[in-house]
């Protein structure tokens, strides 16, 4: 089984994209599947020599076959991202330029990071949802192509804050400043609604029935990244401008 870090470095080499990709995506993934990454860290040294060809499916490596009984090799249920073939892996966002943070924001950010419960105004289809960790969301629509148990990362936010400080986006905050992860819990349905449709001068009434289905989610965490983390991920500190985002303190 490939280590994620090995995978990332290989894919980034393949795509010839910005070098910041692997550094950005690594720590987030690591905190999600800690056990998997731990297990992989031990195997990393062994697989690194044999993982020269990234196009081979993951289950075909000899390491993976040892841990799985022989009968179930052909129909493995993917549990972590390691089990998913490389071609079907979610693509990490490619940024053309490194994150630019103004000096004043860098100075104020520790105040926001230090004050713990955080909220984020995440936007889905341009609709704002005020979220804190542990919240239950019932989206006003059925989200396609997700399964129960999937983890999504909301990357569009218009505000991010704690009790006394708020970082407002203009109109959105850069997605590299925070992490908001949600897990798809299931699909809910509303009770059947029957609307009676009548026309004039007619005894006939038509019944319109509707029973929509909605995706439900649970917010796993809302986290603001600290300045040290941003610098480690390749953020660039720039001078203040007139329209640069700032953290507003409560008056």
């Amino acid at each position: 089984m490939f280590s994620r870090s090995v995978l990332r470095s290989l894919t980034s080499d393949l795509r010839l994209s910005a070098p910041s990709i692997s550094t950005i995506s690594l720590p987030q993934r690591a905190c999600l599947h800690q056990t998997a990454s731990l297990r992989n860290a031990q195997q990393q040294s062994q697989t690194q020599s044999s993982s020269l060809n990234p196009e081979t499916p993951l289950s075909a490596t000899p390491r993976a076959q040892e841990s799985i009984p022989e009968t179930s090799i052909h129909n493995i249920i993917p549990q972590t991202r390691d089990d998913i073939p490389l071609a079907k892996q979610p693509v990490a966002p490619t940024f053309t330029s490194p994150l630019e943070v103004t000096k004043s924001l860098m100075a104020q950010l520790p105040h926001l990071v230090g004050q713990t419960p955080h909220y984020v105004t995440a936007e889905i289809h341009a609709r704002p949802f005020l979220l804190t960790a542990g919240d239950h969301i019932r989206l006003p629509f059925l989200m396609p192509k997700v399964k129960t148990g999937d983890i999504l990362r909301f990357n569009r936010a218009s505000a991010l804050g704690s009790r006394d400080f708020t970082l407002k986006g203009s109109p959105h905050i850069d997605e590299r400043l925070f992490e908001c992860r949600v897990r798809v819990i299931g699909v809910e349905s509303e009770p059947l609604r029957i609307k009676e449709k009548t026309k004039r001068r007619q005894r006939h009434t038509k019944q319109a029935r509707s029973k929509h289905r909605y995706t439900t989610m649970r917010v796993m965490d809302v986290r603001v990244k600290s300045p040290e983390e941003l610098l480690k991920e390749g953020a660039v500190v720039i001078e203040d401008a007139a329209d640069s985002p700032q953290i507003e303190a409560r008056s």
Partner: protein, 137 residues
């Protein structure tokens, strides 16, 4: 001395840390002779093995119920049960019904207006007229 109750520090919320599928069990009932079970019989032989392989966390039971229409029943973690009658349905439609039962939370269907429900305290606190600066209009 008054007895003090233990305050709960955290409440278990499915999906925050671990995620548990709410559907525990699916029962498939069919009749061997009835015409309305024809699609169900095809589903049980063709589609169900794959469905079971994709959902190892759900217990599947197949039981005959002679002389009745075919039914899928779902048992949920909260103790409730949901049943869908699948008479005269094609195997592909029966799979859709099974998916509905699989993804459901087991709660009664409710009409909700607010998309977000939270048990957390308000992050920014409740507004008070006696605190904070005076603001010009």
């Amino acid at each position: 001395m008054p007895v003090k109750g233990l305050r709960t520090v955290t409440t278990a919320q499915n999906g925050v840390g671990a995620f548990i599928h709410q559907c525990k069990r699916l029962d498939f009932h069919y009749c061997k002779y009835g015409g309305s079970s024809r699609g169900m019989l095809a589903f049980l032989t063709q589609t169900l093995p794959n469905f079971a392989r994709e959902n190892p966390q759900i217990e599947l039971r197949v039981a005959p119920r002679p002389g009745k229409h075919p039914v899928i029943k779902g048992q949920y973690v909260n103790g409730r049960e949901k049943a869908i009658c699948v008479r005269n349905l094609e195997p592909i439609d029966i799979l859709k019904k099974a998916m509905i039962l699989k993804d459901a939370s087991g709660d009664k269907l409710k009409r909700t207006k607010k998309p977000v429900t939270s048990i957390n305290e308000s992050v920014r606190g409740i507004w008070s007229p006696y605190h904070g600066d005076l603001r010009g209009v």
